[in-house]
Amino acid sequence: MWAKRDGKERAAADATAGFGRNAAFFAALLAFVITVAAPGAQRTSIQLPPDNPHAQLKPGPGEEVTSRACSICHSTDYIVTQPHLDAQHWDAEVQKMIKVFGGPITPSDAKIISDYLARNYGSESEKPTNGSAAKN
């Protein structure tokens, strides 16, 4: 039978791949699919590209902790594409990642992360816009 990849191992591999390195990213868009027709085996495999380098977090206090913690499970485009909601929403999100998804984040790091997200991706960080509503 196939072996489901061990969760920790995969997380470690993903986290390593996770820190955006533009050159590596573009070079590694050798995303491919192969079917190997070896005797008795019919393997189809894919190689996924590394994390989107354009989704790097904004620099500032807490960026390193945030990037490291969140990248264990997901690329940072899960953060930068979000709407700029307030600090309460961001804190609830960080708490969800810890309590619901078991993210290994200490309480002190959680505070650093929540503050960083609210400061850089929260409602206070929003620049005034023309108020053009998003539509199709």
Binding site: Q42, T44, L48, I72, D77, F101, G102, K135
Partner: protein, 429 residues
């Protein structure tokens, strides 16, 4: 409507539906897939061109999509990158000019990392739990031991169009491209369950795939349907083909669950385990996630606090204007075919009405070929803009049981079920 009661089956479709034969030649024409598939070789677009295309896409006129690069993942063509890991890739709207969405352009959404390798000689679909005869079906078993069936059905993410919610909501900020329409071929799930012999005590059936959590604490992505839902609906199936080809890995290779009419959260990809349970399934992705307010509209006052919630289920009726796109320039006095797609949760589209004046003046669009109740229904509306100026186009679909689309968006806490009448503004010069 199933909404109040949570996941219940609508009365199963008549047998005649099973006999409906889809016109494969027509399908291949519209689909026009060039991907090299055959003789065990399954090859996706190999080299992506993100560096070049990403820059080009930064100018996307849709503010929600501006700056999102086009990327090419394994087995896929250039799609709009929402998130890279786990991958969420959106289908550009122009693909909906066709009734069938090509496999390589079909959107991708994973909650946890997808499988990176499948050895088809070792893959098994395990059927276990409250059954008389547990099964371990090989890929050949699926293809040879059960009657084969096909259906054209829309697969739409529960959160499709979440990016347009107001007030805004955390979650995947999709525009309208987290959907697609394909011909699915495989085996009726009830035939598989009958072969295993579901015991009288069976209540729910859970579905797990080869995708695996990134950390032990992350709930594995497992969904469920009730036994009665499956046994009463012959269209719930395990599909091993999509548009006549093997499924791309990122759309569920080698087999996925097909739940026509219901949101895609139930269509478990890379399916490996089907388990019959003697009690209601209480996993995270059924009891804590993918919930909607337990009322007729599945909605709340914007920003309102959730009360009693139930699992999301049947899709609401929608219509989308594919051409022209928002902000397009058209010529006065020149006839234009305004066109798009409409669909619902399986009752079938009855009509699509168009308004070109931004107010409540509606005229009927012409419906395209009927590919079945669960399919996209193409529509077209001949329109000659009378004079220069700005026009607001709106399309409103009604299904065969009279359900239609609201004029004002309905809101719910997770950003699901969007089906407001969409507006497209064009400039006529």
């Amino acid at each position: 409507m199933a909404r109040q009661g949570g996941p219940e089956a609508k009365n199963s479709s008549p047998a005649k539906r099973l006999d409906r034969r889809f016109d494969r030649r027509a399908f291949l024409r519209v689909c026009g897939m060039a991907s090299a598939v055959g003789a065990g070789v399954w090859s996706g677009g190999i080299f992506g061109a993100m560096a070049a295309r990403g820059a080009a896409d930064a100018g996307n006129p849709n503010p929600l999509l501006a700056g999102r690069p086009l990327v090419r993942y394994p087995g896929k063509t250039d799609l709009i990158l929402l998130t890279s890991r786990p991958p969420q890739l959106e289908t550009p709207m122009e693909y909906f000019e066709n009734a069938i969405t090509p496999n390589e352009a079909f959107y991708v959404r994973y909650h946890i990392p997808p499988p990176r390798e499948v050895d088809l000689s070792k893959w098994r679909l395990k059927v276990a739990g409250s059954v008389d005869q547990p099964l371990e079906l090989s890929f050949d078993d699926l293809q040879s031991k059960f009657p084969r069936t096909s259906i054209v059905a829309v697969n739409q993410c529960s959160g499709n169009s979440r990016g347009y919610f107001s007030p805004r909501i955390f979650g995947g900020q999709w525009a309208n491209g987290a959907m697609g329409n394909a011909e699915w071929t495989g085996v009726r799930l009830r035939d598989i369950l009958s072969a295993a012999g579901v015991r009288q005590t069976g209540v729910d059936v859970s579905f797990n795939g080869l995708d695996g959590p990134p950390l032990p604490g992350v709930p594995d992505f497992v969904k469920s349907l009730s036994v009665s839902r499956i046994m009463e609906d012959p269209m719930v199936m395990v599909a091993y083909q999509m548009n006549g080809q093997p499924l791309p890995m990122l759309n569920g290779f080698p087999a996925r669950l097909i739940v026509p009419g219901w949101y895609a959260t139930y269509w478990v990809k890379n399916l490996s385990e089907v388990t019959v349970l003697d009690k209601e399934f209480d996993g995270f992705w059924m009891r804590k996630a993918y919930l909607i307010p337990d009322n007729a509209c599945g909605c709340l006052e914007p920003g309102g606090a959730p009360g009693h919630m139930v699992p999301i289920n049947r899709m609401d009726v929608r219509s989308l204007i594919v051409f022209p796109s928002d902000g397009a320039h058209l010529s006065a006095g020149k006839r234009t075919a305004v066109r798009g797609v409409a669909f619902d949760g399986g009752y079938g589209v009855d009509s699509v009405l168009l308004s070109t004046d931004g107010v409540d003046t509606w005229r009927a669009a012409q419906l395209g070929k009927d590919l079945g109740e669960y399919s996209f229904r193409q529509w077209s509306f001949e329109w000659t803009p009378p004079r220069a100026g700005s026009y607001r186009l709106m399309a409103r679909a009604t299904n065969r049981i009279g359900q239609s689309q609201p004029a004002k968006p309905l809101w719910n806490p997770a950003g699901y079920l969007r089906n407001v009448i969409e507006e497209v503004d064009v400039n006529v010069g």
